[in-house]
């Protein structure tokens, strides 16, 4: 069921905004009119002025590193099943994270999280999706199971359960069904319904993987397995096609089988 891979750009490194230090464009120095007399002194003087401005820029970056938020890092390790469009099922352990920043210690979706996740993608531009998984923050001292959806590139959380333990295994299921008046999506954790939301359209494809906002975090390979999909509310079916995968900077991933994708961060050799 694989669609043409030539139309996709999974070989493109996922965006990692490590260099977005927010130094203004105005750093390209243009001498103001009043300095003409100084500039007219010759190229050595011009060099010194540019050097002086460069010194100011370096001092700015050194003195105000907060503008280079650690959240400017963002990368993923994802696998895809093109046939899935109304249901996604996966099982995975809550994998330990080490080396993560000690940020985001009191609220979900804050600091520099690492998410172990499954998705149903609704639109080809990726701006609409369903999601369920586990978030790690605060140097892995703050963990939670989360579920919700993205709509027009905005994340709407439907719920969180804090305190899930590393080493525990859960199964995650998102499925679509007709309620008698409309189609809804349903989020299940270990077989228990957690949320129900209107679902106006079938999806585009299914995915599973690891999403990180923490460049120093280390995550050993862990498998999302027993991967299954539903197509048009049909029977649950095993993933089968090794359809596509992609890994960003610091991230790694490998197919263990057609129904198991292992992801890791900064531990690609182990």
């Amino acid at each position: 069921m694989a669609r043409s891979l030539t139309k996709r750009r999974f070989n493109v490194i996922l965006t990692a905004y490590l260099t977005s230090w927010n130094v203004p464009k105005e750093m390209t120095l243009v001498a103001p009119t009043w300095s003409r007399s100084v500039l007219s002194s010759g190229p050595v003087t011009e060099f010194r002025i540019v050097a002086g401005a460069a010194i100011a820029a370096v001092l700015y970056v050194l003195l105000f590193p907060v503008s280079a938020s650690a959240s400017s890092f963002h990368a993923e390790s994802d696998a895809y099943e093109f046939s899935g469009n109304t249901g996604m099922y996966s099982v995975h352990v809550t994998q330990a994270v080490s080396g993560q920043e000690s940020t985001g210690c009191s609220a979900p979706y804050s600091g520099n999280p690492v998410y172990e996740t499954e998705w149903i993608i609704f639109t080809s531009n990726g701006q609409n999706w369903d999601e369920m998984g586990v978030g790690h923050q605060c140097n892995d001292g703050y963990r939670y199971i989360h579920w919700g959806y993205g709509y027009n590139n905005v994340w709407y959380s439907l719920g969180t359960i804090t305190g899930t333990s590393n080493g525990t295994t859960h199964n995650y299921k998102i499925t679509r069904a007709y309620t008698g008046s409309q189609y809804d999506d349903f989020w299940y954790l270990d077989g228990t319904l957690k949320s129900q939301v209107y679902s106006p359209t079938v999806g585009y494809e299914d995915s599973v993987g690891l999403e990180s906002y923490s460049s120093p975090a280390s995550v050993n390979y862990y498998a999302s397995y027993s991967l299954q999909y539903q197509h048009n509310e049909g029977a649950w079916t095993n993933w089968s096609g090794f359809d596509a995968s992609g890994t960003g900077t610091h991230m790694c991933g490998i197919w263990d089988s057609a129904t198991s994708w292992s992801a890791a961060e900064n531990q690609c050799g182990s």
Binding site: F10, N22, S106
Partner: protein, 160 residues
């Protein structure tokens, strides 16, 4: 000190001054213009900026609006993909609630890489709700252009 400056030359000092002016001026110009909304709400949003900063890097308040628990509940239940019952139903409908939208860089889920290869962007807007004794509730975060209706009073919001 003066001999050091003389050694470097006045021009390098001029360069440093120019650099500082350009950087500071550029930062000011790059930060948000005046936030929109009512003044009480904007002040409330500015006051909770330290809390908002836990979600990422805040560059400013984009919008603040004083609303009510009833209006917020209607708005939350009717926007985007309707269905979930708003937690603000638990409050008296008249309870004042402030809607705050911040600009910056945040770390909410963005979904997997887009099928058509569209790049993923780091969320640049955060919406928080404040009620009671500065109790702050996460509402949503993502790309600012996708947040409509931004507040319960927006034209395309329910009961606006």
């Amino acid at each position: 000190m003066s001999s050091g400056i003389k050694w470097l030359g006045r021009s390098i000092v001029v360069g440093v001054v120019i650099g500082v002016v350009v950087i500071v001026g550029g930062s000011a110009a790059g930060s948000n213009a005046s936030p929109t909304g009512d003044q009480a709400a904007i002040q409330k949003c500015q006051a909770i900026t330290p809390v908002a900063s836990e979600y990422g890097t805040i560059t400013g308040v984009l919008r603040g609006e004083t609303s009510s628990a009833g209006a917020v509940a209607n708005w939350q239940e009717s926007r985007a993909r309707r269905g979930p019952i708003s937690s603000f139903r638990a409050l008296s409908a008249a309870t004042p609630v402030t809607v705050c939208i911040f600009s910056g860089q945040f770390a909410t889920p963005t979904g997997p890489l887009a099928p058509d290869g569209s790049p993923k962007t780091i969320p640049n807007a955060l919406r928080l709700l404040v009620y009671g004794n500065d109790k702050v509730v996460f509402d949503s975060a993502g790309n600012a252009s996708g947040m409509s209706p931004e507040t319960p009073s927006d034209p395309n919001a329910p009961n606006a």
